[in-house]
């Protein structure tokens, strides 16, 4: 059977959203999240990828996911 990717995608989504809220000042605006190039979350994801020198795709690729799991300082990366 194909792996039940639905569950992990959901978890990854929550993980990245929490990360962007904590360190990039992302404010969830209520809309259910859909990958659109211009929406707030994608913009914040690009900001994060740019800060860490990752490929700025705006997508939750493996490099980004890997970085989001790492231990870090609790202070934001962008001025609040």
């Amino acid at each position: 059977f194909p792996a039940n990717t639905r569950q992990t995608e959901e978890e990854d989504m929550q993980l990245i959203q929490k990360y962007l809220e904590n360190y990039y000042g992302f404010k969830k605006d209520g809309e259910s999240f859909v990958w659109k190039s211009n929406n707030a979350m994608t913009q914040k994801l690009k900001e994060m990828q740019e800060f860490f020198g990752l490929e700025v795709t705006g997508k939750l690729d493996s490099g980004t996911l890997d970085l989001v799991q790492k231990h870090r300082c609790g202070f934001p990366d962008v001025a609040g």
């Binding site: 800060f51 970085l67 231990h71 870090r72 300082c73 609790g74 202070f75 934001p76």
Partner: protein, 380 residues
């Protein structure tokens, strides 16, 4: 590197820190050592100096806590966010919080406290996160390698942008001449801070500390700290001659004025302001005044008092005028009779030094309240 918006930084060079509580993961002595070493990472490359306090308030309050801990930024359990710190400022400003849900270690395994603390104190001093993956101020924790220099050039450039560099040569001198307590030194040429016959050339406050001048040395004492630092005057101000006559601080201007013979210098931090020394008469003294014995500045009256033999003059900073004639010391400061060596103001008291004696004078009650030894302020 980057700084916080508005570039908040400490305006003083001597900062206090206090470890409010301890993690059970390490012995308290190991926590003390890790914190002290993490602060020295920054004091080694700037003029900043850190003094540990064991009680009361301090500029940098250090604590361990889990989850919510009254600063609107709760921790997130094991992993994830390890610690955070706040930009320079009052109250929460400068404070550093460590997540108790981590396993704090003093080895490369687990979460190394020294390494994380050094990063957090970068924030406490005004640095934001760096994009340079080799910099200490990079936000992601990397396995601690004790063989690698902790500060990257990016960190040094950032912190020196805010505070300037350490007076490196003096710092070396300071290292070589900084003796915690001269009573331990075997060199007879060094004055003994606990001798009952100790006298001083001059005494003044200085950025929250008290400075005791003697020949070519100074003792530095923070009122809230037991120990004193003993240093060469030249390790701060190489151009200043030894054996000064008097010194006083104008905190509002962050200036200290130092006198020797008929000349005086004005310093700010470890820099002598340009155009000094100048002659005494430029302050308004008659030309026959060739030296002064002692001086202090009263910040409330905005007046500076200059003592010569058994008399004194006062200079009014507001009207920018010197007394036309002198007054007898004992008339204004009853109980202080004769020539004084040094004087300084601490809280609401004046401390007059005359030979081996020190008189505490209450400025409100206008009388001497205590007779003290000259080494009263030292841990003898």
């Amino acid at each position: 590197f980057s700084t916080f918006a508005g570039e908040p930084k400490w305006t003083k060079q001597v900062l206090t820190y206090r470890i409010v509580n301890y993690t059970p993961d390490l012995r308290p002595a190991d926590v003390n050592a890790a914190i002290k070493k993490a602060l020295s990472v920054w004091s080694n490359v700037t003029p900043l100096r850190f003094i540990k306090k064991d009680r009361g308030d301090a500029d940098i309050m250090i604590s361990f806590a889990a989850r919510g801990h009254n600063d609107f930024t709760p921790f997130d359990g094991p992993g994830g966010s390890l610690a955070h710190a706040f930009a320079p400022g009052k109250d929460l400003g400068g404070d550093a919080h460590f997540d108790e849900d981590e396993t704090w270690t003093k080895s490369p395994e687990g979460t190394n406290l020294f390494y994380v603390a050094a990063h957090e104190f970068g924030h406490s001093l005004g640095l934001f996160h760096s994009k340079d993956p080799n910099a200490l101020m990079y936000p992601v924790y990397r396995k601690f390698d004790p063989s690698v220099l902790l500060l990257h050039q990016d960190d040094i450039t950032g912190i020196q942008y805010l505070y300037g560099s350490s007076p490196s040569t003096n710092n070396d001198q300071r290292e070589s001449t900084e003796i915690k307590d001269p009573t331990e030194s075997k060199d007879p040429a060094l004055p003994n801070s606990c001798s009952s016959s100790l006298t001083f050339d001059a005494v003044t406050t200085f950025r929250g500390e008290i400075m005791f001048f003697k020949d070519k040395h100074i003792w530095r004492k923070h009122p809230a700290v037991r120990t004193t630092d003993f240093e060469l005057i030249s390790s701060f101000w190489p151009q200043l001659p030894p054996g000064v006559d008097a010194a006083y601080e104008i905190p509002q201007k962050d200036e200290m004025v130092i006198f020797k013979g008929n000349e005086f210098w004005i310093v700010r931090g470890d820099a002598i302001l340009p155009g000094y020394p100048q002659k005494l008469y430029t302050l308004g003294f008659s030309k026959d005044v060739t030296k002064i014995d002692a001086a202090f500045h009263n910040g409330i009256e905005e007046k500076t008092y200059y003592f010569i033999a058994d008399k004194f003059w006062s200079y009014d900073e507001r009207s920018r005028s010197m007394d036309r004639k002198s007054s007898l010391i004992r008339d204004t400061f009853p109980g202080i009779n004769g020539k004084i060596d040094a004087v300084f103001q601490h809280e609401n008291f004046l401390y007059f030094f005359m030979g081996r004696k020190q008189f505490e004078f209450d400025s409100d009650k206008k009388r001497v309240t205590r007779f003290l030894k000259t080494n009263f302020w030292f841990p003898c």
